[in-house]
Assembly symmetry: C2
Homo-oligomer: 213 residues x 2
DNA sequence: CCTCCCCTCAACCGTTCGGTGGAGGTCTGC
DNA sequence: GCAGACCTCCACCGAACGGTTGAGGGGAGG
């Protein structure tokens, strides 16, 4: 029996996962958490083999952070030989956080519209130490490694873009970030190039589509 | 026993709802549909008292359309005395479609992060013919009736705004809509006033927040 | 019929943006 | 130590945008 901890802020989804997993007869749900904080508190006592975690946890710490912390719990914490595998569950395929979670050490990710069989299989695979990636992300990771066809915005560029999204003028952004207007324009021009657009509104839309904002 | 039909494109959510509802002992799940089309096909034979419907059904016809059609099935269809009550289930509180669904005759709406008790209560209330509205929308409906503090964008303004969101220039929008650039600017100025902003990027953001795009 | 709303267009103005081509600074990693 | 990335800033230009006023036509509804 694979010991699983469910982490999702929706009670209904937790019930559904529990029903789906227990129906397989191969999985034992050893706990449920409605937030990242709860999950972190439960891991030591519940000692799951696999943590099935929603990325979008509403208020509180997010799924990526929770994943990082769970995987950081070394052998020192209680008697666990090693931290549990973390399997990411998410609604949207185009969530930039997925990449971050996998880079943080998650064993894979699943879409919420997956079939019960697919979910059960993925849990079993994660318990065996394997990695499970749905197609979309696999492609994205490969392409990111191979050729950075989707360039990364620098922190400063992102910061500027966030203010642009609010409808701020370059002057306002400059004041907010304590830099000159020229600097703001430079950041924006760079962001335009990276996003493949030629104006601020398009940049905001593309950034949103890629989950950068 | 209240007869309920579940409509959601996520198998996990359907399982969760089934588990939650059947645990109350007052509800019988008489069917599950993964799409609007399936739901419409199942209603006559399953004869539910209440249809619990997700607004976001992925591909195919959407939740609002499905709701409209279900409620349009009069006594002519089979032996049903009247169409079932439709209870909307949605993830986001700020979805403009909620208002449309309620206007289409839905008996109320629930958020997916609601507690099992709240969901069961809402289903029971809907079966009794009552209306259940979560707080957010109730306020919105009231305020929309009382004072249009949240003005409505005209169809043309929305159309322009959608193109703006893609990063199109006024000139490009004018060409796309076969009007002059002056007209585009007029629409935009009106939209800015209604949305309480003073530039296109801010307008897009506010419109997105309000679920208008 | 007359009003109200929506869509359409024009001309003019000042402001803001987008694009270019620089330049100097810090910090990281090889 | 030096390349490379990142952040900072300047000056200039044309293009696009935001704001205003004014105006005409069509459809819905009292």
């Amino acid at each position: 029996m694979v010991r699983v901890l469910l982490v999702d802020d929706h009670p209904v989804v937790r019930s559904g996962l529990r029903a789906v997993l227990e129906a397989t007869g191969r999985v034992e749900v050893v706990g449920e958490a409605a937030s990242g904080e709860q999950a972190l508190a439960l891991v030591p006592s519940a000692r799951p083999d696999v943590v099935l975690m929603d990325l979008n946890l509403g208020d509180g710490i997010d799924g990526v952070t929770t994943t990082t912390r769970i995987l950081a719990t070394g052998p020192t914490t209680l008697g666990a030989a090693r931290p549990p595998a973390v399997l990411i569950l998410t609604t949207y395929d185009h969530d930039a956080d997925i990449v971050r979670a996998v880079e943080a050490g998650a064993s894979g990710y699943l879409l919420k519209d997956a079939s019960p069989e697919a979910i059960a299989d993925a849990v079993a695979a994660a318990a065996r130490g394997e990695t499970v990636l749905a197609s979309g992300l696999a492609q994205r990771l490969v392409s990111r490694m191979r050729a950075p066809s989707e360039p990364t915005l620098t922190p400063r560029e992102l910061e500027v873009l966030r203010l642009v999204a609010d409808g701020s003028s370059n002057r306002a952004i400059a004041r907010a970030l304590f830099v000159s207007e020229a600097t703001v324009k430079t950041h924006l021009v760079h962001a335009y190039e990276k996003l493949g657009v030629d104006n601020r509104t398009g940049a905001v839309t593309v950034a949103r589509e890629r989950g950068l904002l």
